[in-house]
Symmetry: C2
Subunit: 299 residues, 2 copies
């Protein structure tokens, strides 16, 4: 078994800080060393009232909703969850390197809570008071990027004065028709490929997947246009067993999960350790990181 790991340990080290050798104290720390130094206060528990469990036959997808960014869409999704709107509905679209989409794909429940008319919530107003943690690196799609409430964001202070959730791997959004329809939340999608940042501020985002992306990203791709499942594939679509807010479930049925806080000195050190990888495997530290290329650890 030892030999099995050798040829790949290099590539492996790129995502496995735990494999890196300890460094002297005067050298910049590795990702693993930063995380090992985290205190309990560097972690937070997501609010159960904004934690959505999508229980699938193969496991649980855990989504953190983002009411600060899309209050009416999040409220509507929560109302639909309470009404058991999603239970039994399919995952109906899996388009490679793009999105997995679920919910009322067949539009059989259009007359229920899903039909509410909702406002444009593709961005919120920028304000100095927002506790944004800025990423030092330039970004092509936004004048500035960073994190707010542990979500990756784009920021444009002038002229627009806007802050918005960015489309990264695992970001969850609301399918819509042509503008100004913003979608009800009856069909949701998660990004399963390269960050489609050109969608930013074009469609309402409501949260991100904290755990279970492997379940959404490893599904068979739909063979019909745009990754929808073909008529032949439809009988084998994955069905949502239940969609529940964590707060609806007793403690014993909830998944214990903590997320690394972004508004801490430790997080700043974590970002730096990822901007310039210090593990022995790396020949050339990048000196840069994209906001969508920085995983936020959970435990």
């Amino acid at each position: 078994m030892r030999r099995v790991a050798t040829v790949v340990v290099g590539l492996v080290a790129a995502v496995s800080p735990a494999q890196s050798a300890p460094k002297p104290a005067d050298k910049p720390p590795t990702v693993a060393q930063v995380l090992e130094s985290a205190q309990p206060s560097d972690w937070r528990r997501p609010d159960p009232a904004n934690t959505l469990y999508l229980d699938l036959p193969d496991g649980r997808v855990i989504i953190e909703l983002a009411p600060r960014f899309a209050p009416e869409h999040v409220a509507n999704i929560k109302a639909m969850v309470s009404a058991r709107f999603f239970d039994g509905l399919p995952i109906g679209r899996v388009q490679d390197n793009y999105v997995t989409q679920w919910g009322d794909i067949d539009e059989i429940r259009k007359d229920e809570a899903a039909s509410r008319k909702l406002p444009d919530e593709t961005f919120i107003a920028w304000s100095k008071a927002l506790p944004i943690v800025k990423l030092p690196d330039a970004d092509g799609y936004a004048p500035q990027t960073g994190w707010l409430d542990q979500f990756p964001v784009g920021i444009e202070r002038r002229p627009a004065g806007q802050v918005w959730l960015t489309h990264c791997y695992g970001t969850v959004g609301v399918g819509r028709e042509d503008w100004p329809d913003t979608g009800s939340g009856s069909q949701l999608y998660a990004v399963i490929g390269q960050a489609p940042r050109h969608l930013d501020r074009n469609i309402v985002l409501v949260g991100r997947v904290l755990r279970g992306m492997d379940l959404l990203a490893s599904l068979p791709r739909g063979t019909a246009a745009l990754g929808f499942y073909s008529d032949e594939q439809k009988p084998r679509r994955t069905l949502i067993r239940s969609a529940r807010l964590a707060s609806e479930l007793p403690e014993s049925a909830r998944t214990a999960l903590e997320v690394l806080r972004t508004d801490t000195a430790l997080f700043t050190r974590y970002v730096e350790a990822r901007r310039n990888r210090r593990e022995g495997w790396f020949v050339r530290p990048a000196g840069h990181i994209d906001v969508c290329n920085l995983p936020i650890p959970t435990r």
Copy 2:
């Protein structure tokens, strides 16, 4: 069926230029309009001698090798293919949002062609004579990006004078141990998530997947450390039926495939249509594109 499409047509339009409505001639063209105007000379057929077929139980993965960038690694891989090195070996690692890795995962064929010592081929020397097509947009990981031989590249003219393949979705690389080992090609990986650009110039890249990424990206994730398959999963690993160069097969067994050329006026118009999406669905064109966010069409 019509109703099925409506709620999602918006999100859908983002990747389905064919759905966009025709525009007057004086407006900038959409992605679909650009591609519809392509002439036969805007497409090319990959060289069969550098086209690698990875035949899996569920279909064929087609990889274009990049001898200009990594001549010795590509030559070694081709020698291994000729020696049938990969036939019967497994896909042994699938790490979500990172890589799928195949080949001599269990290191049972280390003494064969795989053992050659190869030089650093993580970049080539920049030269004015290289027919590079530059992307106008800024990039955080490289001073300049663009395409060379239809591969996405990073470019640093000064001080390094280097050009290198970038880690994008579908890029194929060579697993290695710690530097200066560069790997033999006995274990190869393809990127299946957000572009891990911090790996650029840290590991040798040898090509990219032209078709069949859906086969590599939808595999069950490995549950052991780093996405390797656990002992329990190992009996169900996907095995490579055969790895062949297209040139080794008779015409009848090859897959007809053309790739959009990048060194044409049409490609420049295509890039612009993707930098600023003109389909009716879009509210705010991005005015920017990342080199890894621009799919190069095949047909």
